[in-house]
Amino acid sequence: MTAKPHRKFDPMTLRRTVIEMAYAGSTAHIAPAFSIIEILAVLYRSHLNLGDGSPKSPGRDYLILSKGHGIMAQYACMHELGWLSSEDLGRYFSDGTVLKGLSDAHVPGVETTSGSMGHGLSVGVGLAWAAKRLGTKQRCFAIVGDGEMNEGPIWEAFLFAGHWGLSNLTVIIDNNGLQAMGRVEEVLRLGSIAEKLQAFGFETREVNGHDEGALDVALQQLDKLDSSRPRAIVAKTVKGYGVSFMHDNNIWHYTRLTPDTYRAAVTELDGNKKNAASV
């Protein structure tokens, strides 16, 4: 039996990387990283123009992780790109290292500093506006959390994007339905995100955010649309997706892995990978 070629940005491999990082650094925020794994995988694999392939490539597309709490998922992708080494990941959270627990613009390839919510999208619309002004053809993809949509500047940025017809902007809402202290609908009811985005002037799609095929199709469709409107995808996701005991369980926004939960997570992810490979 010949080994299958390594599939770039395999979601279960990325989750495994996140688990290794989180265990090495004894860090929280596993669940918010898990809900955006497929979104990032599809973007990095098929949609982001990475220019010459280096994180500092001047003409590359922008990827804004406005919900900076999911940063480990992006680190896992950057590891696959060779932008981060295994040593970088293995030393996560060690004293004097570069990678922090929230997205940080000092890391090449990470566009904005988040963690304080509602910052990244505004920077993203600025980048998209500048790309239009300068005629660079660069696109900007911004991942915004549904909990993050509590923040006022998100709506200011939506208005700005609609007003200026930023068709090179694609906002992807990570609609996992949970925020730090509870259900989004219980904390501050959002109602229909898609309808709201449409009302702000976005071309909008709703997809299962863990279905890579569906994400891929939605991104392609939006890219091909002959429309001067900004684009948005409401990605229905599950916080903690990929490890059954983390599914939709907000404890995993905060909890650190123990040797037992680490082994259980790894066993499940490795099992899923094997199942996926044998299909």
Binding site: A105, T112, T113, G120, P153
Partner: protein
């Protein structure tokens, strides 16, 4: 001074096509000229200052040179965290203009008064602060701000009180400009609208010197040390809280390098209670000529008495490290 700002703005925008003016729906007639001459360099982002700062960060990251305009009560105060994270952390080349600082919007009340912007920004790394006293200092401030390609906050206070310089003035970052030479008992260091007030008060004090500090951060340490050493006491004046502003910056240098009596004249730790004109509010906060004279007199009397009580010999002073 606003004319000087507008002229300097148009000049840099004409020289550098990357320059863009962003406003949060403020600046009514101030931008008539740039809108007429360079309409595509003017971007009104709406009453959405937080987004405006993020947008400016994005524009700067993409290679443009945004100038953010707002009232100082909003830029920087309302958007302090955006300035900190989106602009200063990455040291992006954004020039931020805070107009109407101090009590310029007298009768409009607390929402439009701004006497905390310098303190707030001084504690944020990577941003420099300019506070010109007149049109001449403003023209140079704009040159400095644009040449730097890093975050700069330019504070515009009351600007229709006349010039303090006779003509164009050159100064560098941190530099204190000698307005009146003197080696008497008192030295005055002032910024913005208070430079004119300092010049007036100095006439009451024999041999006093007066310095204008258009660059509040950085502030030239060596120069402040020299001024402190040249006088028995230094009085600072600013239309800003007496916490954390120019007075604090001078006192920090003095206390570290050359202890000297520093009398900080500014807005006491309180809001304005009543509506009123700019002049009323200055006087209500003790920042009119009479109020300044009263405060300087009290300070001089206090240090006179204190100097007698705290003679050098009475101070305990063992400065030797503990040995094992």
């Amino acid at each position: 001074m606003r004319d000087a700002f507008s002229a300097a703005l148009i000049k840099v925008a004409q020289q550098d096509e990357r320059v863009l003016l962003l406003t949060g729906d403020h600046g009514y007639a101030l931008f008539d000229e740039i809108r007429r001459l360079l309409p595509d360099r003017y971007l009104n982002v709406g009453v959405a200052e937080q987004n405006m700062v993020g947008v400016a960060a994005g524009l700067a990251k993409a290679g443009l040179r945004p100038i953010l305009y707002g009232l100082s009560a909003f830029v920087p105060i309302r958007v302090l965290e955006q300035i900190k994270l989106d602009i200063c952390y990455e040291e992006l080349p954004v020039v931020m203009i805070g107009d109407g600082a101090g009590f310029v919007y007298g009768a409009l009340g607390a929402s439009h008064h701004c006497t905390e912007d310098i303190s707030a920004l001084r504690a944020i790394p990577n941003v420099r602060i300019l506070s010109p006293a007149d049109a001449h200092e403003m023209t140079r401030a704009m040159e400095l701000a644009f040449a730097l390609e890093r975050p700069v906050y330019l504070r515009i206070g009351k600007c229709d009180i006349g010039a303090v310089h006779k003509g164009p003035i050159n100064y560098d970052w941190g530099e204190l400009i000698e307005m009146r030479p003197g080696d008497g008992g008192l030295g005055f260091i002032a910024t913005g609208s208070m430079v004119a007030a300092a010049l007036k008060e100095a006439l009451r004090w024999k041999g006093s010197s007066v310095w204008s500090a258009p660059s509040v951060k950085p502030l030239n340490t060596d120069q402040v040390i020299t001024i402190c050493r040249s006088h028995r006491a230094v009085i600072t004046l600013e239309e800003h809280s007496f916490y954390g502003g120019l007075g604090a910056a001078v006192a920090e240098i003095s206390s570290t390098y050359t202890p000297c009596w520093i009398g900080r004249i500014g807005v006491q730790d309180r809001f304005a209670q009543y509506a009123g004109s700019y002049e009323y509010l200055r006087s209500e906060h003790g920042l009119d000529a009479a109020g300044i004279s009263r405060q300087v007199d009290e300070f001089v009397e206090r240090i006179g008495n204190a100097s007698l009580r705290l003679s050098k010999s009475s101070r305990p002073g063992v400065l030797v490290p503990e040995t094992k």
